[in-house]
Symmetry: D2
Subunit: 459 residues, 4 copies
Amino acid sequence: MKRQVRNKAWAGRFAAASNPVMEAFTSSLAFDKRLALYDIRGSVAHCRMLVKQKILTRTEGEKIIRGLEGVQRELEQGRFPFLPLDEDIHMAIERRLTEKIGPLGGKLHTARSRNDQVLLDVCLYLRDEIAAIQQLLGALQKQLTRLAKRHSTVVMPGYTHLQRAQPVLLAHHLLAYYEMLSRDRERLQQCRERVNVLPLGAGALAGTTLPIDRHHVARLLGFPRVSENSLDTVADRDFLVEFLSACAILCMHLSRLAEELVLWASSEFGFIELPDAFATGSSMMPQKKNPDVPELVRGKTGRVYGNLFALLTVLKGLPLSYNRDLQEDKEPLFDTVDTVKGVLTVLEAMLPQVVFREERLREAALGGFTLATDVADYLVEKGVPFRKAHEIVGAVVRWCLAENKRLEQLSLQEWQRFSPLFGQDLFPRLTLESAVERRRSYGGTARANIERRLRSIGA
Amino acid sequence: MKRQVRNKAWAGRFAAASNPVMEAFTSSLAFDKRLALYDIRGSVAHCRMLVKQKILTRTEGEKIIRGLEGVQRELEQGRFPFLPLDEDIHMAIERRLTEKIGPLGGKLHTARSRNDQVLLDVCLYLRDEIAAIQQLLGALQKQLTRLAKRHSTVVMPGYTHLQRAQPVLLAHHLLAYYEMLSRDRERLQQCRERVNVLPLGAGALAGTTLPIDRHHVARLLGFPRVSENSLDTVADRDFLVEFLSACAILCMHLSRLAEELVLWASSEFGFIELPDAFATGSSMMPQKKNPDVPELVRGKTGRVYGNLFALLTVLKGLPLSYNRDLQEDKEPLFDTVDTVKGVLTVLEAMLPQVVFREERLREAALGGFTLATDVADYLVEKGVPFRKAHEIVGAVVRWCLAENKRLEQLSLQEWQRFSPLFGQDLFPRLTLESAVERRRSYGGTARANIERRLRSIGA
Amino acid sequence: MKRQVRNKAWAGRFAAASNPVMEAFTSSLAFDKRLALYDIRGSVAHCRMLVKQKILTRTEGEKIIRGLEGVQRELEQGRFPFLPLDEDIHMAIERRLTEKIGPLGGKLHTARSRNDQVLLDVCLYLRDEIAAIQQLLGALQKQLTRLAKRHSTVVMPGYTHLQRAQPVLLAHHLLAYYEMLSRDRERLQQCRERVNVLPLGAGALAGTTLPIDRHHVARLLGFPRVSENSLDTVADRDFLVEFLSACAILCMHLSRLAEELVLWASSEFGFIELPDAFATGSSMMPQKKNPDVPELVRGKTGRVYGNLFALLTVLKGLPLSYNRDLQEDKEPLFDTVDTVKGVLTVLEAMLPQVVFREERLREAALGGFTLATDVADYLVEKGVPFRKAHEIVGAVVRWCLAENKRLEQLSLQEWQRFSPLFGQDLFPRLTLESAVERRRSYGGTARANIERRLRSIGA
Amino acid sequence: MKRQVRNKAWAGRFAAASNPVMEAFTSSLAFDKRLALYDIRGSVAHCRMLVKQKILTRTEGEKIIRGLEGVQRELEQGRFPFLPLDEDIHMAIERRLTEKIGPLGGKLHTARSRNDQVLLDVCLYLRDEIAAIQQLLGALQKQLTRLAKRHSTVVMPGYTHLQRAQPVLLAHHLLAYYEMLSRDRERLQQCRERVNVLPLGAGALAGTTLPIDRHHVARLLGFPRVSENSLDTVADRDFLVEFLSACAILCMHLSRLAEELVLWASSEFGFIELPDAFATGSSMMPQKKNPDVPELVRGKTGRVYGNLFALLTVLKGLPLSYNRDLQEDKEPLFDTVDTVKGVLTVLEAMLPQVVFREERLREAALGGFTLATDVADYLVEKGVPFRKAHEIVGAVVRWCLAENKRLEQLSLQEWQRFSPLFGQDLFPRLTLESAVERRRSYGGTARANIERRLRSIGA
């Protein structure tokens, strides 16, 4: 039993061995394994700095780094021997290093604590993952602009309240998602700057008495900034909450796109045909072709929201500085990274294969009196106050509904029953093309606007 | 490529093969494996019913069941050959069954869909897990009552606002958690009754045209009830939300206990000594003995809250009936079950080894003027309106603070400066024992109450 | 300044007056006003018990009760003079009582604390509100069964993945919501039993030294149970979390119904026409008729989820017993009660006026190869293993898609190209009526099932 | 009844009047009143632009603006006559304008929709409120730096796991919160830039056919940017989610500070004395002085988390573009703004009056073997590998615990029993001042660091 205690790096003060139930409960190895290579990278930089500051000799430093490189190879080749007694990845690596190079391995932890070490690992990891997500976001935006260009003249109904409202270009609709993803990228970029601050050197909570050089470590690892307050550093998980929250917004955007894909793939809308390669069937109903991909994209929003809330809950009311509760930061983070990369990847692969049924879109755009606002605007141009114009056209629509007619079918005489201001010049307005083309206000759906926007984003 | 499509149970209608990105994205095998044995148990019952109803012949039924038993052995012995193309555990098992018994395996899915099949698996699983959690809850309650009995005369300060308020028995404090866990058990029991409703037979969404007997399946599997509406059945995840919500409340309770353990283990409180076997040290600070177990218990509240919110988000606004989003129900469920069992297990193991420092508790109970209410009650008994009594004692306390005295140290003369009603009979009141013993109102902290409660719960 | 301190019921011990910023920040009067009449009702019962126990004289009791009745009249008539210095509704009422009957008013608070008093108010309030919600739930269920009976022969497409799957009766679809609401009622009923436990008498945290009779108060106020542990009682908000969680599930159900109403009211589905009286228009687009009511019902799910998580967050990690954080329980509760009653009321008023377009529903049910499963079942009855049958029908569907045909249009010869087992007896199967009627498995969509269910629920 | 429909700006197309239940359910006037003055400001700018673009004549424009100014005065003086039929603040103001200036009022809504109008109001409002919150954040930071300077030599125990870990300066601890709030300000500043984008001109969803000049409106209202895509604009609530999420992090920070204040104000810690003016008493216990302010600050975290999740839920899965669900964005926003301003204001008022009990802090810092790491560092400097040093000191601590000694009490002989490397030069290390002063690593607790940081932030 005593032997077991001795295996712990912190066992000196303890009289009794750890209970295995406790060990299983507190171990983080199952998930923090993922940080292994970042841990080694951080340790190498830490070691180089210790040498530069003469806290370690050059020979000691070289031996440790060679040892770490050996451990790294074992990890990369899947040969690293994890042991049940390893509490976490940091201890596993240090234990292995010591097996390889002897007690000298025990010098690596000089002037650092796991509290700042694990933060370094997470920052290195997340910095990379944000870059990867940015790339995937860019790729998805690319697919959206490609689709927009491919379908640059296709008109569809624009909706409010899921009711047909005014005709818009499909390209305009697709680019709305482009804009959302642009904001996501901006937010993630700014979040990354707050991730990109060196925590190492905060020690357990108060810094260290040894003459370390944190700015040197920062340079070695490419951190533009060094954290300012050691207590804050080890207690802080802001950058994770902020990342989770940026991902929650991103997934919210994708849930809206997914919802639309599900709607559009329904028989009722019939706006798109999903590629067979991205649909699945039913185990019971032989005719089914289901939009599982967008459904799962929509559903996975839940887990990202949940991860955000999990971490916010963990942090609520924690006194300074480090508390073990903070170990619960990793699984929500990892799951969010995996989920976000997964949904972006699958959408980017699927989108270019989605077939837009242009005729159905156009037909739908003609339904639902979508040109009514154009008629009101026509009256406004003739001097009618907008509210009055709105009322007149409302009456026209009500009459059409009763008579089962469409606006395009009314004769001039019929129009004039509602207002003498209607003239022949109304009719050219009553086409989808006119409606779209005349919405030239900045950000409006006119084709010229779309083209300008595509140019301005370099698509 | 075509070959790949053919492997799917639903491939008949599809012209192109699945994209591997899509397959990886939609596969649930990694986590629904956990349901494997429940899936087989459900299939055996389904098969027996198909035979009883003459949808399968007796020979077919026997062959299928023998086949399923073979698959079960493979699963139990870890020899089951999972394939990358298996979409989920149901398809993996059916595929394996067909490998073993030939095309007859294809008859097992008669009159059912994965939509009702997976629900059956989850119900069987959760039914068992709730029972397991109930048992762990009972075991933890047992430890609480044991501690209460062991320390039946120990007085400690009762707190409001984390300020010492009135003396209470430690046993009373411990039993407060007993009561919380009792409500948890009651809620889980009622939830279990709503889990315990047979979903199988709802088919994909509308029931089946084949002459099945759902009540027979229910009897075979021990379900007291059969679901009433097939559309509702395949769309419903209420019982999971309810379970997650009951677990969120349970974990909230444990987070409060954990918070108290962390406080009590601090140098400042010093009320308890955690067992070495359930504490950990620091990699940097040699003197540290940290309450990692209660900290993690407290932190894990976050993931359970997060899981609840994840599932609520998934379900929000989903049209009937089954949607693939619902696949996202399993990981929050499994993680919650594991987490709840984990925290209950570790607390049940740790609690009996916690050492309560009785002298510190008693000393603390004497501080903070905890007997002030007793003095006010004394005046009330002498006919002073409570508000006036409260004011008088408030003034006494203010004077004591200025003079740096404790209530117990005042002379009768000093008391009488504040009210002539104070007499010698006040002094016997100014002990912790008196204060505790006199709180005999039902549910109050008097020892007689505690003993009565312990008896009534059979402890 | 000193004067201001003196106004506080607890000022005796304080040397300096309250800061007005603090007073504004901590005051709960703005929202706990709502509990005023419950507070008086609780005080009357408390007072009667104090008389019975001879803690107050009969004369004192009568005077206090008459005073409270006067205060009640002022509240009911909107004449109650709230003062800025009233901290909360309890203090406001006690202050007013004392203005009316003099220092005797100060005796009312004998043997109770605001900690147990406010809980009593909340329990009385919530008990009533749950009953009110139950009634509204029943009324909405009534409208669903009425609609089901009114449209008892209407066939519509049943959906999975928002793809047409199998024909179902509209009545079956409507009754799916009936079942959900039944579970909601069951949950709320069980929650109400946990609300219905008398907290008064727990005192501030430890009970009281005065000889109160809690069971008498319980009888006077109709509580079947009395709380068991005073510390638990004042710290407990389980019953509120449970209520919020039951409401979250309920609102989730309504969000699904709302989503369907929005879909069905779209031009693309066209399944329903919303009544003008429950739709709104657009300030810009004269033709619009928007389903604002179901949209808002769907949206309000957010606030109820948010309220649940607000309270769970408040409770996480709070040490025993009462902490002021708990004051934050009231606004989420009140907002949830208002929201739930609002959505139930508006749906109950709107539903009977929704016009179902039966022809559109029927037409839609015919599309999307919804009879494919019936063909597969046909083959199963001829002895084909289900998986094989599924494959054959899948191939038929693929062929139809290529040839732009519907299943009903195929000749026997064409069928037999896919399997020689197809015979003339297939054709009677290829009708919506047959498909619906043959799904007679318990809980399936057959009309007989619906009628049985309507009878069993007394509709 | 017909009259009632006619009152609606959108009534033209409707045959039946609104149901009053529906009107009450959908009305937003009760809360969007708060936007009234912003609505007028936006309308004035819109009107000026319409004149510039010759959509209105100069005379019309002047008349409208004078009318709006009249309405503004009524609002400012509380004389504005709200009517039950006003659906929202926009309609109320337009209705009132028309009462004042006749049908010309109906021209104001030319070329805009409530969909973009309400967004403009919210952007103008939130832009101001973020600025106000930034100011409050700055003021609270100021109080923290003042306290840090006032107590610049006070040593306290630094904690990890709520166990005393290493001595730190109180100023270092206080500045940790300064750093958190700095990140909050940075995040809010970046959020504000995304709020600061003109939405007006997006129309209902697709822009407008009228020749508006959005950039002119932007200049008039001080928006540096104009939104790029009209569909995205009316569907977007990112900036609100981002604001709520920044506030959730901010409140999480304050919940940690609040937790520490509650702990420190307890008898057990005794680190601070709260000012009487910011504490409250108990209605039952005359001696109580409770930290209600920090408790409520901590509790209010819940509502801000809840508001964030409410809005995320609302947005999940909404198809483009505007849906009425989005009306549910306002109450969580307003409540968050009020809550955040409230907690910042009260903390800023209270903090300078908190009395730090310097002797208690110092005494506590001496307990718990907080100098153990310094001893280990001492051995490292003598060449012992850190792990070995840690083990040696661990053994010393264990021995001290058994012997009931403190590190400072050991003789050289006793030290040397554990390692011959201990020498006389150890003793000067064993003081709090040495421990603090030697932690000079960047961000560490040494006084020089604190002073440097205070200078760098201009305090």
